[in-house]
Amino acid sequence: MATAITNDPMLPQPYSVREVAKETPDTFTLSLKPENAVNKTSFQPGQFSMLWVFGIGELPISISGDPALHDRLVYTVRSVGQATHSLVNLRVGDGVGVRGPFGAGWPAEAARGRDIIVVAGGIGLAPLRPLIYQVLQNRKNYGRLVILYGGRSPRDLLYRKELATWARNRETQVLVTVDYGGLGWRGHVGVVTTLFKYTRLQPARSVAMVCGPEIMMRFVVGELETQGISQDDIYVSMERNMKCAVGFCGHCQYGPYFICKDGPVFQCERVRKLLEKYEI
């Protein structure tokens, strides 16, 4: 018996798991489909959903799938605690509650006709993947695409096959590095900012989209500024504690902003000063 689907952002809609794929030892990609097949899924790259596991809890997770597909919602989840652990252990056919999508996404309009520099760290590549799909599927609307991706170690890298596929697109450069190479890795080793020297950026025509741990975003923003890119042209995706995702619970406040409504994507100019403030 299906629940009547409402557009109430406070009520989880029933979805079920259509596929679970392991990306790394602690990270899985879940593909969900709405219980009621007539419902079409729709989201902007950079938005997130609140995923609910029956009786356990609800979590904000960025949507990491292809925005052109309207029969599914895809999420890449890292198991770091009890709630994420229960999410990654779901089986095909299990039910999941979905609220959303919420938030302000990556700025498609500001990026039109310009070179896009995607700088991702760790799981930060997940909320950027929908943007990459969007750019590659509408190639003529954008200039060059440069993807700089830094991970902890080779086995922690996400979407390795796709990274190779993306690199084969015209006017697309994909560079990957790890902090720790370990045994057998012959690729690049060093923090993600060390990849800039292999690019030929034209700052005036570039827009940068950055996502990763806050420390990483801070030093990447510094490097982008050194490269001559203005704060108006840099976008970051911020994260804070979230309970309601609709601007009522007050938890996600970051300075004067509610990350659930005003973010998670912010133009760097708005949050530059906040990035440097301790305990804000």
């Binding site: 890292r78 902890r152 902090d179 057998g184 690049h188 420390i215």
Partner: protein, 153 residues
């Protein structure tokens, strides 16, 4: 066709050097190539040369018993490889492995060491520049050590 002098004086590392010092650099410099897969320098060897990378990537490695060496850092175009030639015991602390075919400018560190002792102004200019490189590498290394992508427990 680019001359050695042209390459050296245009490189950011040498920017601002007095003309006479620039000439001195050129007199200690030569073009070199390394094939991909070969070692440019090895841990423990005498450190008497440093390199300005013009093309290709170099992996800085640490010897690991029972395994292939582990890469700790990758250097690329425009970067300087090697500073152990500046300080005693003048010995390399890491391997440098050519990832790609490498084109570089090699500079005679042994010769430069002597000249720096004789002319402290030259010494200061060289040390100032190497201090900057070390600062950048240290900063990057610290960020690597932070393990920002790891899960804090």
């Amino acid at each position: 066709m680019e001359t050695l002098k042209g390459i050296i004086t245009e490189h950011p590392f040498f920017a601002g050097l007095d003309d006479s010092f620039a000439d001195l650099m050129v007199s200690c410099a030569s073009n070199v190539r390394f094939k991909a897969g070969t070692y440019i320098l090895k841990e423990g060897d005498a450190a008497n040369t440093f390199y300005l990378i013009r093309e290709g990537k170099v992996a800085v490695e640490v010897f690991a018993p029972q395994h292939k060496p582990i890469i700790v850092s990758t250097l690329g175009v425009g970067e300087i490889l090697g500073w152990s030639w500046l300080m005693p015991p003048f010995q390399w602390k890491f391997h440098a492995h050519a990832v790609d075919d490498i084109r570089a400018i090699a500079l005679d560190g042994k010769c430069l060491r002597t000249k720096c002792e004789e002319n402290h102004d030259l010494g200061y200019e060289i040390l100032k520049r190497f201090a900057r490189i070390m600062e950048q590498r240290l900063e990057a290394t610290r960020l690597q050590l932070l393990d920002v992508y790891g899960v804090r427990r």
